[in-house]
Assembly symmetry: C2
Homo-oligomer: 344 residues x 2
């Protein structure tokens, strides 16, 4: 990178995740020479105080772009399938928040605090894991390194922002309808989400496991590089605007006292231990929302199984679960060896 | 019971549970000769369309009462400790929804569909289990009978009505404050519950397990008569007005195909299987609220463990989780041998 100039960067998608990508690139003073926003629908979009001319994505738009973030949600879903590898061929580094290439062998799937080493051999295309996977593994990976996770049972409490801005608006509208005494209309979700719990996220396979639950399992295997870890999950949507939570019940290879787990997690980067329930200190999604760290609490022994340990995590699904993790991947790439500058 | 006359009945507590007890006694045409409502604070309380003169509870008020329901929440908390056994000595049958005597060896802890036999040797004092325990076991007990539950991991999504009417009002007020752009004030709960998840219910012990989680374990052992079942739980409050949900991950003694589990649950009394996620058919707390049955769905194999089975349950915590179960206990007593009428 020529000093003082930064990179030609593009964000594909201007929904809930795309906007946070733009915001975080600015707030974290990512070295930007230029920043453009692409999406399906051209428009002027105000993103945290600045107007962006959103242009329709096309192959040409990636010419000269050195780094492209694909938000991978809403209108931008499928964009990385259409434009991602072509952009890489033009010399662009792609960081894809969508789930189309996460399990592709050519593609590292990275949470920088956990497996930054996977970036070493990247081929220009890097995938951001699923939001629930990131929030869960931020707490589980440090425990796994120390004591080995044999099995984990994860039950999630996921916020509507994970379904994009239309879902945020839907919860808001349903709540307003409730205040005005009206009926709750559901469009984004099959049932009202206000004052409700929807225990299906994504689409179910023939066995009844949902795609969201399947992602948690296979992404855990890829990120931790250990497909022997057994994962059971139930993913549910709750009427929370932003911030995913998960109750995690672990079975470890080796004994690990809860005090020791607390010490390990207190030292883990990107994790904040919030754990004194007797004094009403515990993680909540509201506290996690707008924070970079994943909050971990309710750390306790689970004596229903050998070497059992339970915990509760909350993380900002738009930030660490999506946009922040993507930007951190880019920052890590630069720290390691820079992005290859595009020939003029 | 003299024909056509019914019993002298009293409900202690006029909060969220007490009111539902009164309502269900009427709606189910429980044989009432008289029905009085006692609570800490005397007042006239309108309960589903009828006015009741609520009188302060005292030992004298139980004279001549043949059947007393203790709601065991809010203002009525502790009432069964003060008046319960004295009422029994006067010949009254007590059904206590509170948690003071659930583990008492003299006291049967009963879900009629599951362990009505425990009523055989009652001594006049019967306990109603915890709401989350009831909703969970309605689905787990039929599976346990068929295939043996070795271990269960339960993560709950509990409604505010479980904390009583002040908590319902608090969620309502916080939602109204949100609609009006104001701050969310928390009084009943340590943090705002609107648009949030609070992963602590009850008080934590030295190990960090909460009283709500401990109840689920020991009440399961007592109700199923099997203390070898290992139970791990995380209980969390969600912004739902009414209806508790739980994600349940079971490890069974014997193999049980999910189709077989679906068949067993479809035949189980008080259970309704709602399970076709591909067609958006799944249980939600809104659907369970105001229904007698516990809804069960997401029935699927959990191949992360030998003989694993997962499911998701929703039940009306004020009804099957409290008032309805208590009334059903009384109905079962009458069916079995009647209440001993009080000498005049």
């Amino acid at each position: 990178m020529p000093a003082g100039q930064g990179y030609q960067v593009c964000v594909v998608g201007a929904g809930a995740v795309g906007k946070e990508m733009v915001r975080l690139l600015r707030e974290r003073r990512f070295p930007l020479r230029s920043l453009k926003v692409l999406a399906r629908r051209p428009r002027v979009e105000r993103i945290y105080g600045s107007d962006y001319e959103v242009r329709p994505a096309s192959e040409e738009e990636f010419r000269g772009v050195e780094l492209a973030f694909f938000a991978g949600t809403e209108g931008a879903k499928g964009a990385s399938r259409r434009f991602g590898w072509a952009a890489v061929e033009q010399g662009c580094v792609v960081i894809d928040n969508g789930d189309d290439f996460r399990m592709d062998e050519r593609v590292p799937l990275v949470i920088p605090e956990i497996n930054a080493h996977a970036l070493e051999k990247h081929r220009g295309f890097i995938a951001n894991p699923n939001c629930t996977t990131i929030v869960t593994l931020m707490a589980v990976a440090p425990i796994h390194r120390e004591a080995g996770v044999r099995r984990m049972v994860v039950c999630s409490y996921q916020a509507v922002s994970g379904s994009g801005s239309a879902a945020i608006a839907e919860l808001e509208e349903q709540v307003k309808a409730h205040c005005g005494g009206g009926a709750l209309e559901a469009k984004v979700y099959p049932r009202p989400i206000a004052f409700n719990v929807l225990p299906v996220i994504g689409s179910p396979d023939a066995d009844g496991t949902t795609s969201e639950e399947a992602k948690l399992r296979r992404e855990t295997h890829k990120i931790l590089g250990d497909s022997s870890i057994r994962v059971a999950a139930t993913c549910a949507r709750v009427p929370v605007f932003n911030g995913h939570s998960a109750a995690i019940h672990l079975e470890l290879e080796n004994a690990l006292a809860s005090e020791e787990a607390r010490r390990i997690l207190s030292a883990a980067p990107g994790v904040r231990v919030v754990d004194d329930p007797a004094r009403n200190v515990f993680p909540t999604p509201q506290d996690a929302s707008g924070r970079e760290e994943v909050l971990v609490g309710r750390i306790r022994r689970d004596d229903s199984v050998e070497h059992g340990l339970s915990l509760f995590v909350c993380g900002d699904n738009l930030w660490k679960g999506a946009a922040l993790n993507a930007v951190q991947i880019a920052e890590e790439l630069i720290r390691r060896r820079g992005l290859t500058p595009q020939p003029a």
